[in-house]
């Protein structure tokens, strides 16, 4: 069985600065995989590379066995990969309902249709309502997304990401800036919504990482220094030295 | 033919340098503030009209100094009382504000000075042929214009390389997001940059006024070409703006000087074909298509290099 995501020898340079060097990462289907590492290690860049936001300088990225490096983000999305953003990135002037509905449209096959009434699409309406229920925002559906609270916007961000039904989900620090209670709620939400899908998550909160992930990869200076189960990572001396050790002080 | 090439090159470089006086200010303002100042050509027009009026009152030389300063003050006022209040509504609102201003300035100018061309003359001191090349007398005033624009160009280089504000501007050109971290005096820096940019446009107006036509539609005629220059060069790139200014300046000057058409090259069409699109194209002279050449270049560059000649920035 091929991996859901396979990153092979990827390098990314901006001018002469090498942000990512010889990056190798493999995420099996159905796995919940966390990417951790100190600030500036290249975690967000890794997500940007996988999701097509930026193209790698060299190397290859595969999604379910198919090469996707060099494709545009929407082409990758259509092949079943969806991502969220670290900084909330919603459609601010549109209502919560419209936000989620727009994310449902492509996957339900309506694409650029200009001959269908968007309010008269039962499948779209059902899925939108389901997702809004899932992310606990159904009662807020008529509010412009820009007016939601921060935690609500983070939940909407997750909702937009999963709405298209992609089977590989990339979440970039979904709990950043949340209170303890909000974080717990968000983790439960993520666990439930990504059931049966592949999840890659960047996270700083170690309790979230060790509670959620099946496997963990540690990224330092644009390179994966260790990859394994939470127990293996916890016991890995290289990781302790390079990352956990620093954090522990 | 050689005569035409030499004269057109001189005129083309001159026009290009004038364009650069305008496009440099526009580029710096855009890089720092994210605002594309639609009214930039209007500041050029204000420079010409202020120059004309002050020349009548106190003579050309004082006008050369005072008129750009006045334009700079107008520019600073626009930044302080207009753009700063509009900033919170986003860049489109800012662009629209300057669009409305361009419209209003044209109306105000034609309201005060009328719609016909002004009698804005070359100062007597410079009203003589500088040299004769082949059979053409090259006016001293044009050499003066060239000198002024080259001097300003050099002064700008020095300011950019050697002063604190120059370093800030340079940093803003390469790292637009950095400007937000300038701290509390960012407002004053914006106002200053906007003022200097407007004043540069004003200088261009004062010196171009006597050589070209000083009239209330001069901003509307030059404005679109100016935007072609900065998009062609790549938004936010000063070297790009410089190259694009010269390219457009030369292309337009040469095109105006050339009188050839397909008809003169290959002989007239069979008259029995009658008037048609083909005959229009066949008979049009290069001089007649000069006004559309910048836009053709614009479309071509966007097909080949969507970011412009030297552009690196997405928006």
């Amino acid at each position: 069985m091929s991996a859901a995501i396979e990153v092979q020898a990827v390098e990314k340079r901006f001018g002469n600065v090498r942000i990512i060097q010889d990056l190798n990462l493999s995420v099996a289907k159905g796995e919940r995989h966390a990417v951790i590492g100190p600030n500036g290690a290249g975690k967000s860049t890794t997500f940007n590379l996988i999701s097509g936001h930026i193209a790698p300088t060299s190397g290859e990225i595969r999604l379910n066995g198919e090469v996707i490096s060099g494709l545009r983000p929407f082409e990758i999305n259509r092949r079943g990969l969806s991502r969220s953003f670290q900084v909330t990135n919603v459609f601010a002037r549109m209502t919560v309902w419209e936000n989620v509905r727009c994310a449902v449209l492509w996957a339900t096959g309506h694409r650029y249709a200009f001959w269908k009434n968007v309010d008269e699409l039962p499948e779209v309406r059902r899925r939108t309502a389901e997702i809004l229920e899932d992310i606990h925002l159904f009662h807020r559906r008529d509010i412009p997304a820009g007016l939601l609270t921060y935690a609500e916007q983070r939940e909407l961000e997750i909702g937009i990401t999963i709405a298209g039904g992609a089977d590989v989900i990339l979440l970039d620090e979904p709990t950043a800036g949340m209170s303890h209670a909000e974080t717990e709620r968000a983790v439960a939400l993520i666990r439930r919504l990504t059931e049966g899908r592949t999840l890659v998550i960047v996270e700083h909160d170690m309790s979230v990482v060790f509670g959620l992930a099946d496997r963990i990869s540690v990224l330092v200076y644009g390179r994966v220094i260790a990859s394994g189960t939470p127990e293996e990572i916890r016991g890995n001396p290289k990781v302790k030295e390079a990352y956990l050790g620093e954090e522990a002080h | 033919m050689l005569e035409l090439i030499v004269i057109s090159t001189l005129n083309g470089v001159l026009f290009g340098m004038l364009l650069f006086l305008l496009s440099s200010g526009l580029t710096v303002i855009f890089s720092m503030m994210g605002v594309l100042n639609f009214a930039h050509a209007s500041f050029y027009m204000l420079g010409a009209f202020f120059g004309y009026q002050l020349t009548r009152w106190i003579g050309f030389w004082p006008a050369l100094i005072i008129a750009p300063l006045l334009v700079g003050v107008v520019g600073m006022a626009v930044e302080r009382y207009g753009l700063r209040a509009t900033h919170k509504h986003g860049h489109v609102a800012e662009l629209l504000l300057t669009f409305g201003l361009a419209f209003a300035i044209e109306e105000i100018v034609s309201m005060i000075w009328g719609k016909s061309p002004m009698d804005y003359r070359v100062p007597a001191l410079l009203d003589f042929p500088a040299f004769t090349i082949f059979s053409t007398n090259y006016p001293a005033y044009k050499l003066f214009m060239l000198t002024v624009s080259v001097l300003i160009f050099l002064a700008l280089l020095v300011v950019l390389k050697r002063t604190r504000i120059g370093l800030i501007v340079q940093a803003a050109l390469t790292h637009p997001n950095m400007v937000a971290h300038l701290g509390h005096n960012v407002g004053r820096i914006f106002m200053l940059v906007f003022g200097v940019g407007s004043a540069l446009a004003g200088v261009a107006g004062v010196i171009a006024g006597p050589a070209l036509v000083t009239q209330s539609d001069m901003a509307a005629l030059l404005g679109p070409i100016l935007f072609v220059v900065i998009v062609f060069g790549g938004l936010g790139s000063l070297p790009g703006a410089f190259i694009a200014s010269l390219v457009i300046g030369l292309v337009q000057t040469f095109a105006v000087a050339l009188n050839g058409s397909l008809a003169s090259a290959f002989g007239p069409l069979d008259p029995s074909l009658g008037p048609s699109v083909l005959s229009d194209i066949w008979n049009v002279t290069i001089a007649q298509i000069a006004p559309i050449l910048p836009y053709v270049l614009l479309v071509l560059i966007l097909i080949v290099r969507p970011l412009g000649l030297m552009g690196t920035r997405e928006t």
């Binding site: 459609f91 229920e133 937009i160 | 419209f103 008037p275």
Partner: protein
């Protein structure tokens, strides 16, 4: 947790209620269009209504770009103009060849013209959004306008191309000579176009256009290519602008290079923005106001364009939502019943604000008249004649501006305070987020 199935049904019922109200509005609009010329039947008002109808279609088409997709175009008149020219040539061809195409179908030809040019140039223009799109649209606009003067055989040079609309095949015994028949033709196409453009906002494409407007980057991560979305929006805008141009060609029986020019592009931008881009009816208000001002002001003042510019700058700075935005701001207050708090504040502010405006108008008119002959030196403001040359007028103007400004500033503060109170009430009662 509420049941998903029932909540989805709720939404369906809700949208059905909206639909009913929505059909009601369209029926009322149609009735108004039919009845209007029976109440105001003079030739002048028929001409005005015709022009307003055309500019409403044009402004609505512009708002597909600006309001729906967030694209600021400075060259929208290209589609209007080319639609007009194609319509004129089609009419002349119909006359010359004796085809049996009746006049009411000609606007569709205009639409095809506008669409055709959009299909050709749109792909390049919509590669980029934001400022670059604005500049490229300006460049394309200038390119087409200048080219039209070169291709004389198609565009007729300075004088343009003319036609005679009564020579086309007749339908229902109408020869479309009288203005009233043209009015109803325009009203018909206005209804069709407005309904079509409204329907477009409620399709998957229409909603994705909004998403591209709000956040083009994120759209790429939900499966859409923002370039394609912008391109499609551009084509629709071009099509409806072409219909407006075709109607204009029928109305005037001429198409000339002014149709495609920068002024035409600027005016549609003014109308749309002044009316308000965030609501569908905004551009309708804007088109009515701007066309009315254009017709009304030209006979009173020589500097009407300056007033346009000033109004536009005022809207951009103080009310970027336009007139529609200002009106809709009050909706929560109406629902919460706290609008009453605002009315006294508005009425008090009206007096000094009007005084200030009169002062500015006087000043503008005094300056505008300095080049005019002696018999044009009387400024008629609110029924009072002022002499533009008299120092007393100058003084009045200065007093009105300075005094008006200082008093008006106090009353504007009152409005702000009243607004705070009114919105607090609306928020408490749950009508405002």
């Amino acid at each position: 947790m509420s049941d998903t199935a029932t909540s989805a049904v709720d939404i369906k019922a809700q949208s059905r209620g909206q639909n009913l109200r929505f059909y009601g509005i369209w029926v009322i609009a149609a009735i108004v269009l039919i009845v209007l010329p029976m109440i105001f039947s003079s030739g002048g008002s028929l001409t005005s209504f015709s022009l307003i109808g055309i500019s409403i279609i044009f402004a609505l088409s512009y708002n597909i770009l600006l309001g729906q997709t967030g694209l600021l175009s400075f060259g929208h008149a290209v589609h209007y103009g080319l639609g007009g020219f194609l319509a004129i040539h089609a009419m002349n061809a119909v006359i010359a060849r004796g085809w049996s195409i009746p006049l009411p179908l000609i606007p569709l030809v205009g639409g095809v013209g506008g669409l055709a040019i959009a299909i050709v140039v749109g792909w390049v223009i919509t590669k980029r959004a934001g400022t670059v799109f604005a500049m490229i649209s300006l460049g394309i606009g200038e390119l087409v306008a200048s080219s039209s003067l070169i291709l004389r055989s198609v565009f007729g040079g300075e004088s343009g191309v003319t036609t005679n609309r009564t020579d086309l095949p007749q339908v229902f015994g109408w020869n479309f000579g009288p203005q009233i028949q043209i009015y109803y033709l325009i009203a018909f196409w206005l209804m069709i176009s407005a309904i079509a453009m409204y329907a477009l906002t409620r399709t998957p494409l229409g909603r994705i256009c909004n998403a591209v407007r709000d956040n083009p980057e994120r759209v790429e991560f939900i499966g859409y290519d923002p370039h394609v979305v912008r391109y499609l929006a551009y084509c629709f805008a071009g099509f409806f602008a072409g219909i407006a141009g075709g109607l204009s060609a029928i109305n005037f029986e001429i198409a000339n290079s002014a149709y495609l020019g920068a002024v035409q592009s600027g005016i549609v931008l003014f109308a749309t923005f002044i009316g308000g881009t965030a609501y569908f009816f905004g551009p309708i208000l804007g088109a009515i106001l701007v066309t009315y001002l254009q017709l009304g002001l030209t006979s009173v003042t020589t500097v009407w364009q300056l007033y346009f510019g000033v109004i536009f700058i005022g809207i951009v700075m103080f009310a970027p939502g336009g007139i529609a935005g200002l009106l809709m701001m009050h909706r929560p207050l109406v629902r919460a019943g706290s609008l009453g708090l605002m009315i006294p504040a508005y009425l008090i502010a009206l007096v000094p604000t009007v005084a200030l405006a009169c002062g500015v108008i006087l000043a503008i008119e005094i300056i505008a008249r300095q080049h005019l002959p002696a018999d044009a030196q009387i400024i008629n403001l609110l029924g009072i004649p002022f002499s533009a040359t008299s120092p007393a007028t100058w003084l009045t103007s200065v007093i009105l501006i300075v005094g008006g400004y200082f008093v008006a500033r106090l009353t504007w503060q009152r409005i702000a305070d009243a607004w705070d109170r009114a919105t607090t009430i609306a928020r408490d009662r749950g009508y405002l987020a």
